[in-house]
Symmetry: C2
Subunit: 156 residues, 2 copies
């Protein structure tokens, strides 16, 4: 039921995993675009990614975002300006450096992000609820193993 | 062997899949950074993503990249300028519009991209070769089903 149009080509199980990982990562871009619009209709995907990082860290300097995303400071500045204009992110004084500022989510930004993520989570569950429990368990376990091994490679 | 430190918290199989998908997508950022450096030591991740899109389409207008990545034109221009400076991307006249140009990979850009991707593919295989064949097959099949269902949702 899962294979199909493959015919006589030699496709190894490695090829399958590789292709499906690539598909998933490509789709991640679309998903990010969709969730960005859920957060705010005028939010660009790149600015959403930046907002997610602010949420993840609680507060962060713009210069650290520049390093993290591999985007120059001008690019980060423009995205931060958009996030401020939309009322999603604000600047707080940096307790460690009076002249510096840290980016934080506004209360509205936080609640919009939570609501958009809840929506995504609900859609994911609706999809997986149609699967056999054993398949859901297997996907979680295999992805978990894959990720942990990638971590240990990255760390070593 | 795959579970562990979970204790008495109620973690459903959905939570596992959700968390591991999030881990995987987060890791995608790191992987993109690594492969960007493999392509060229001075290549930023954002510019690598743009270069990948050029490779995927064969040739593309800069304005289409701006739409696709949700980045403003200035941001795309700066990344394209970096890619040109590194000799990875060049501009060809657009056959449909004499005044417009399309971005293409240079031969050097193409061979560097291929080599970097081969390296990533080899590392993925080395990882999965340590798995039981049945687990590799299951991961490919389950991810494939997940992706196809996401496609059909996105299309409907």
């Amino acid at each position: 039921m899962t294979s199909g149009a493959r015919g006589s080509r030699t496709v190894t199980p490695y090829d399958d995993v590789e292709r499906e990982l690539a598909n998933l990562l490509r789709r991640a871009r679309t998903m990010n675009r969709d969730i960005a619009v859920d957060v705010h209709p005028d939010l660009q995907p790149a600015a959403y990614a930046l907002m997610s990082r602010v949420a993840e860290l609680g507060s962060v300097r713009a210069s650290d975002l520049s390093d993290y995303f591999g985007v120059d400071k001008g690019g980060v500045s423009r995205q931060v300006a958009l996030l401020e204009r939309l009322g999603l992110v604000a600047r707080d004084p940096d307790p460690d450096d009076g002249r510096a500022q840290r980016l934080v989510l506004t209360p509205d930004g936080g609640s919009r992000l939570t609501a958009a993520r809840e929506g995504r989570r609900r859609r994911l569950r609706e999809q997986l609820e149609r699967w056999a429990d054993a398949d859901v368990g297997a996907l979680g376990a295999l992805l978990g193993r894959f990720n942990r091994e990638q971590d240990s490679v990255a760390g070593g």
